[in-house]
Amino acid sequence: MKWFWLIRSIAINNTIMLSSIRNKTKGWLAYLIVGLITVPFALFGINEYFTGASNVIVASIDGDEISKEAFLSEFNPQKRRLQQRLSERYDTEFDSILKQSVINDMINKRLLGQFSNDLDYATTNSELQALIQSNNLFQTDGRFSIEGYQKLLRLNGYSTAEYEAIKLKELTQSQIKYNLLDSAFVTSSALKKLQALNEQQREFNYIQIDADSYLDKVKVDAKSVEGFYNNQKESFFDPQKIKIDFIELSLEKIAKNIEVNDDDLFNFYEDEKERFSTEGERKAQHILVETKEQAQTVIELINKGGDFSKLAKEYSIDTGSKDDAGDLGFFTKGVMVPEFEEKVFSMQEGSLSGAVKSEFGYHIIKLNQIKLGSIKSFDSVRSELTKLYTQTLSQKSLYNLTDQLANLAYEVSLDEVSDQMNLAINTTQFFAKNTTDYEQKFVDVAFSDVVLNKGENSEVIELSKDKFVVVRLKEKLAKRQKSFDEVKGEINKHLTTLLAKTFVDKIAKDIATSLINNDDSANKLMDKNKLKWSDSVWAKRDSKTASVAIINKLFALPKPSEGQSVYSAQGLGKRSAVVIQLSTVKAPDYKPNKGLERSLLSFESNEMFAGILKTLRSNAEIKVFADRL
């Protein structure tokens, strides 16, 4: 692993800002100015100075403030991720929930940060390395890849230094939890007991009686149906329903009408050339030594025919690559230290460099392979280009048309909008407010005051990134009470099910009672109802030999005494009853179970950690300015 490249950039202390001012200014006058400026900084703290008047504060924790900027830099990416995952189901209402959760999370992190600081906790570079290297986002073919790592970070707008500083902080904060877990234990007899409990087995069989089989055996009288209707009258109504006219503007439709000519396409290709080119890459080995003299020695050895790989192993101080023949793999520009890069990219394939000095020492480099950068020809990417170009054009045109639509919809009727923009009016079916047939946003606007009560055109609604609509009410049906005749069937069915359930509960109870009393009415009842025992089986807590509900009831039964069975009648959901016979309980032989131990320890430490956070929060003075979020 090529680690030292990475670590060079980690900022250790919090005086980065000061030193960057120092670096930018030159001459004694500059020193004087810096001196004058730094005195108040040193005394009052640089943070307060910069986050003073111009920044909006969204929360403060014991005086430690969270700026709106910091908040948004957490919130925006999370929102984007959520939007991507939910796409059209994303609702702006989620924003406020997400905001709460993000600010809460940030406050927790600050508290943990402060506390880990108080305890002088710190994280070593090797811990950081281990974390980053084990992240499979940064791995190719199961191995950590420095190129992949840097590329991915660049794509997400981080420099490695920023990313590593963030991770370092997170690791230090997480020590509040994980240090305690390091030393947690389960004593051997406690583990034994827990395991006996967890792996306990119970032998059982059961009779299941389903209410559905008794629906035709019970009779609900007409009076109770009517009584039910009269009592619950307000729950039987047909909600308000509406029909909506709408005009839709979508990228898809616009793209269909766009024709592309060759000249334009070629110009577009020229502009977007970078998209179709690949960067040049180099594959090199290197040996890193501390002094120029050592470098000379190594070069001489190589010139005398010494094996580069073996020499790398023997002399190189780059622990990341020395055992790998000094191999650094393929890399593009911008990855290695500048001096190294400059040399490598000027070398011939197969050649060897002299001693190259960088901040890490002296490198002897062997360039093994050159992959030249390349650009795909216009013809080979034509179809891809056409697609891209059409998309770009239709995107532009969509924005213009959306503007036009918004203006027109504000001024004239929907019919006129349709005429002027040559867009068809569509009409929905009748739908109620709780419908799932249309997008939530669409329904919300359709039932908004402007559309529903005032009958005006709505504003332009963005249903998704590429789809906009304007809606207007076409027709509405008021909420109305349903008549008894309309719903009596429904009520009758509901009451019949309830009655049948009561009936099977009673059968189950009678059978259990008879079994407990050891009389023969159980058999008679079972014959009469054509009921049968299931086969007797052993079950563990997670067995699938019966439904989860039955297994849960089974394991909550008291244990039988030797040679006797326990019988119990239980309701099972809304439609069944069950009689369970529990005949034996046993615990298997003890085998140490690491998994169980780990689970228990993590359960306990999670609870401990929850308590720590709760305590830290209640001890701190936390203010959240929700209106500024």
């Binding site: 202390n13 001196g35 005195v39 002088d120 710190a122 070593t124």
Partner: protein, 205 residues
């Protein structure tokens, strides 16, 4: 400084005045700036020193965690990093190692001093673990005594759970049930321990 440059004077006069002003105040300014820079340097150096101390303490701690025989790391922390949070943490680690070797008295020797730690989280962890060790030694009275807490605190769910375990070991089923139920009501809402405690409770039916 208000009348530092006056408009009506000639250039020479102005230069003269600047020189005079510098003569009077120059020393103080140089001294002030010097002092400021020195303060920054000292502060930086102090921060760097502190950070490197923390890193060293962490390194000792990690070497103890990865190797039970590495008691020198524990001594090092205890003697030379008195103010570091890793001292308490490493005592907890030593206690765990003692438990692994079934040296329960020794484990308690590491834990007991932490019962009254200023860091309440260390104190709670140490007490809960101490009680578990007393339970393992069948010393139920001492276990319950260790779990005696006055105030109703955030961690009472964990305390009640262990108390339930102690009563169960004593075969005091009713008290065990009572404390398991109490634990269920005290644990945080989404605690995974709840299903475990429910299993323990069901088994006592």
């Amino acid at each position: 400084m208000k009348n530092f440059i006056e408009v009506n004077r000639t250039e020479d006069e102005q230069v003269e005045q600047i020189k005079k002003w510098w003569k009077e105040n120059g020393m103080q300014i140089v001294a002030g700036v010097g002092l400021g820079l020195a303060a920054i340097w000292v502060w930086d150096a102090y921060k760097d020193y502190q950070y490197s101390q923390s890193i060293q303490a962490r390194t000792h701690y990690l070497s103890l965690v990865s190797n039970p025989n590495n008691t020198s790391a524990f001594d090092e922390l205890k003697n030379n990093y008195t103010n570091s949070g890793y001292v308490d943490q490493s005592s907890l680690v030593m206690a765990k190692y003692a438990v692994d070797r079934k040296e329960y008295h020794k484990a308690l020797d590491y834990l007991q001093p932490l019962f009254n730690s200023e860091n309440e989280f260390i104190a709670h962890s140490a007490k809960l673990r101490g009680a578990a060790i007393y339970l393992e030694m069948n010393n139920y009275d001492q276990a319950l005594l260790t779990l005696e807490t006055t105030a109703n605190n955030t961690f009472s769910g964990l305390y009640s759970h262990t108390k339930g375990d102690v009563y169960l070991a004593q075969n005091n089923i009713e008290s065990a049930k009572k404390h398991y139920r109490l634990a269920l009501s005290q644990l945080s809402n989404d605690s995974e321990l709840k299903s475990l405690i429910q299993i323990k409770l069901n088994d006592l039916n």
